[in-house]
C-alpha cells in the first residue's frame, strides 16, 4: 500500500498555545486494520493530538494525511465525512435528546443520508454497543458506562474507517471495562482501524498491536506493546520507576 492511502499519516506536526508546546515534531503512520495505543502522563498532549487529527483544532505546522487526502486544513465536519470518527474523553452527549436520536444524528449527518435512510444505520450502531434497550432514554440521564457506549455508538454510526477512542475505559468498573474491551476487540476484528488513548493499560494492551508514548508533546517511544512496557525510559516518564502496574503487566 502506498503511504498516501494510509488511514493516517502525520509528518512534523506542531502545535503550541503561546509558550506552551503541546505537539512537537510529531510524525507517525497508522496502517489499515491496525490498532495503535497512545499512552503518556496527564498533559502529555494526547487529547490535543486527537483534536488535531479530528479537526477540533488546527495545527501550527505539519502535515496530516488520511486515506490519501491532505486533511490538515479541513474542519471537523469534513474529516468526519472523510471517515474519521472520535469519542470524547468526557462524553459529549446531546443531553436533551434520547440515545437513539443521538445516534440518528450521527448516522444522518456523518453519512449524508436523509432521516429515513439513516435509521437503519442508527439502529445497527446502537444495538452493536448494547444500548438497544435504552434507545428511547434521555442521554442526559444515562450512567457513565452508557454514555461511553453512546459515544462509541455515535462514532460507529457515522460509518468511520478510522476510529479515535479517547479514554473510553476511564472511570469504569472492572466488569464494565471487560465488556467494553471485548466490544472494541470485536470492532477491530471486523476490520476497523483504531487509535486509542487510554490510562487503563491492561484494557489498552488487550486490544492494540502497537503503542506510542507521548510526553510533553513529543513521541518518546513507539513499538510493540511488550517492548514499550519494558522500556526503562517509558517506565520512568510514564509510570515512575517503581510502578506496581508496570510490574504486574510485565509479570
Amino acid at each position: 500500500m502506498t503511504q498516501g492511502a494510509l488511514p493516517l499519516s502525520i509528518r512534523g506536526l506542531h502545535k503550541s498555545f503561546g509558550a506552551l508546546v503541546v505537539a512537537e515534531d510529531i510524525s507517525f503512520d497508522v496502517e489499515e486494520n491496525s490498532a495503535l495505543g497512545i499512552i503518556g502522563p496527564n498533559g502529555a498532549g494526547k487529547t490535543t493530538l486527537f483534536n488535531l487529527i479530528a479537526g477540533a483544532m488546527s495545527p501550527g505546522s505539519g502535515k496530516i494525511n488520511s486515506f490519501g487526502k491532505d486533511i490538515g486544513s479541513m474542519d471537523a465536519r469534513r474529516r468526519c465525512l472523510g471517515g474519521i470518527a472520535r469519542s470524547f474523553q468526557v462524553p459529549q452527549p446531546f443531553s436533551g435528546m434520547t440515545a437513539f436520536e443521538n445516534v440518528l444524528i450521527a448516522a444522518a449527518f456523518g453519512r449524508g443520508l436523509n432521516e429515513h435512510a439513516a435509521r437503519k444505520f442508527a439502529i445497527k450502531a446502537i444495538d452493536r454497543t448494547g444500548l438497544g434497550g435504552s434507545s428511547n432514554r434521555l442521554a442526559g440521564s444515562m450512567t457513565l458506562l452508557d454514555r461511553k457506549r453512546l459515544e462509541l455508538a455515535r462514532a460507529l454510526a457515522t460509518g468511520p474507517r478510522l476510529l479515535l477512542l479517547d479514554e473510553i475505559a476511564g472511570g469504569l468498573t472492572e466488569a464494565e471495562c471487560r465488556d467494553l474491551v471485548s466490544l472494541i476487540k470485536e470492532i477491530r476484528d471486523q476490520g476497523m482501524t483504531i487509535i486509542w488513548i487510554e490510562h487503563v493499560l491492561h484494557a489498552l494492551l488487550a486490544v492494540v498491536d502497537r503503542v506510542m508514548v507521548l510526553d510533553f508533546g513529543k513521541i518518546i517511544a513507539q513499538g510493540a506493546p511488550d517492548e514499550i512496557m519494558k522500556d526503562p525510559q517509558v517506565a520512568a516518564v510514564y509510570l515512575g520507576p517503581d510502578s506496581e502496574e508496570l510490574e504486574m503487566i510485565n509479570g
Binding site: 479530528a54 479537526g55 477540533a56 474542519d75 471537523a76 465536519r77 468526519c80 465525512l81 470518527a85 472520535r86 470524547f88 459529549q92 452527549p93 446531546f94 443531553s95 436533551g96 435528546m97 434520547t98 437513539f100 436520536e101 440518528l104 444524528i105 450521527a106 444522518a108 449527518f109 456523518g110 453519512r111 449524508g112 436523509n114 432521516e115 439502529i123 446502537i126 434507545s135 428511547n136 455515535r154 457515522t158
Partner: protein, 324 residues
C-alpha cells in the same frame, strides 16, 4: 404523517379557526390584544429558534422588525404598493439584510456576537434616522389613501390586520414546528445541546446557523411590517426599539423555557397575563416581571415549560424521534 404530527396539525387548525372567528364574538380591544399576542409569539418563537437552538444569542432583532416596517411604508408611499403585497417584500428585504450581517457577525462568538448584533441594529437605526425623505428622526405615517386600500371600513381594516397577525403568528408556529421535525431540526437540536459534538458528527454548523439566521431575519421582517401596518406610523425609535422587539422577547423565552418551542409560547402567554393583571399598578409591573425572570433563571434554567416537561412529561409539540 405520524400520529403525533396529525394531532398537532388538528390542534393548531382548531385553534386557528376559533381565533379567526374572533372578530364576530370578541370586542375591538380583545382583537388588538390577541393580535399583539400573535406578533409577540412569532417574535419569541423566532428568537428562541435563533438563540435556543442555533446558539446565536442576538440582541439585535429589532433591526429586522424596523427594516420590515420601513420597507412596508416605503413600498406603499413611494411605489404605491398595496399594503398586503408589501409584507412578503419586507420579508425579502429583512432576509437580505440578514444575509449581509451573518458573515460579518459570525466571526464573533458568544457575548461578542450579542454585542455585534446590537451594534448592527443601532447602525441600521441611525441610517434610517438620517434619511430626510423617510422623515428622519420623526418617521412617517401611512397616507389615508393607502390605509383605505387595506379595506374600505375601519372595522374591516382592523379585522384584516388582525387576521394577518393571526396568520403570521400561527404560520411561524407551524413553520418552526415543521422545521424542528425535519432533518434540519435534528441539526438544530444537536447544536442546541452540544455544538462541539455536532461538528464532529458531520453537522454543518456554519451553514445551519446561516440559514437559521437568514430565515429568522426574513420572518421577523414580515412580523415587523404587519406590526407597523397596524400602528400606521413608524419612526426609528419605535421601529428599532431594543426594548420592545428584543428585550421583552428575551424575557418571554427565558421564563417560558429556552430551547423548546412550547417555552416561547408559554412565555408569551405568561408575559401578557402578568401585564394585563398588573396593568393598574404602574411600575410595579416591571418589578414583578424582573423578579419573575430572575427567579426562573435561578431555579429552572429550562424555564417554566422545562418544569412541566420534567415533572409531567408533557409535550404539546412533540419532536421526539422514537425507535419503534
Amino acid at each position: 404523517m405520524s400520529k403525533s404530527a396529525l394531532r398537532v396539525a388538528i390542534g393548531l387548525t382548531v385553534i386557528t379557526a376559533i381565533l379567526a372567528a374572533a372578530p364576530w364574538f370578541a370586542g375591538r380591544a380583545d382583537l388588538r390584544l390577541i393580535g399583539e399576542i400573535m406578533s409577540y409569539m412569532a417574535l419569541a418563537i423566532l428568537w428562541n429558534l435563533l438563540a435556543g437552538y442555533a446558539g446565536l444569542v442576538s440582541v439585535g432583532q429589532q433591526a429586522f422588525v424596523g427594516l420590515g416596517g420601513y420597507c412596508l411604508f416605503i413600498c406603499v408611499i413611494w411605489f404605491d404598493f398595496p399594503p398586503l403585497a408589501a409584507v412578503p417584500l419586507a420579508a425579502l428585504v429583512a432576509g437580505a439584510a440578514g444575509a449581509i450581517f451573518a458573515p460579518l457577525l459570525f466571526r464573533l462568538e458568544g457575548a461578542y456576537f450579542a454585542v455585534g448584533t446590537w451594534v448592527a441594529a443601532e447602525t441600521v437605526a441611525l441610517i434610517f434616522a438620517a434619511i430626510p425623505s423617510l422623515g428622519a428622526g420623526a418617521g412617517m405615517s401611512l397616507p389615508t389613501a393607502a390605509v383605505k386600500a387595506i379595506a374600505s371600513s375601519r372595522e374591516l381594516r382592523e379585522w384584516t390586520v388582525y387576521w394577518l397577525l393571526l396568520a403570521i403568528g400561527m404560520g411561524v408556529l407551524g413553520g418552526v414546528y415543521l422545521l424542528i421535525r425535519s432533518k434540519a431540526g435534528l441539526a438544530l437540536m444537536a447544536l442546541r445541546d452540544n455544538p462541539t459534538a455536532a461538528g464532529s458528527l458531520g453537522v454543518d454548523i456554519w451553514w445551519t446557523r446561516f440559514w437559521t439566521y437568514l430565515g429568522v431575519a426574513a420572518a421577523t421582517g414580515a412580523v415587523g411590517s404587519v406590526i407597523f401596518l397596524q400602528k400606521l406610523r413608524i419612526s426609528p425609535d419605535a421601529g428599532f426599539s431594543l426594548n420592545d422587539w428584543t428585550a421583552i422577547v428575551i424575557f418571554m423565552v427565558v421564563i417560558g423555557g429556552i430551547g423548546r418551542i412550547e417555552g416561547a409560547i408559554v412565555g408569551t402567554l405568561i408575559y401578557f397575563l402578568l401585564r394585563e393583571l398588573l396593568v393598574d399598578y404602574g411600575t410595579i409591573y416591571l418589578i414583578v416581571l424582573g423578579l419573575a425572570g430572575i427567579l426562573v433563571m435561578m431555579f429552572s434554567r429550562s424555564g417554566l415549560w422545562g418544569i412541566v416537561e420534567r415533572r409531567l412529561g408533557w409535550s404539546l409539540l412533540p419532536t421526539r424521534r422514537l425507535r419503534e
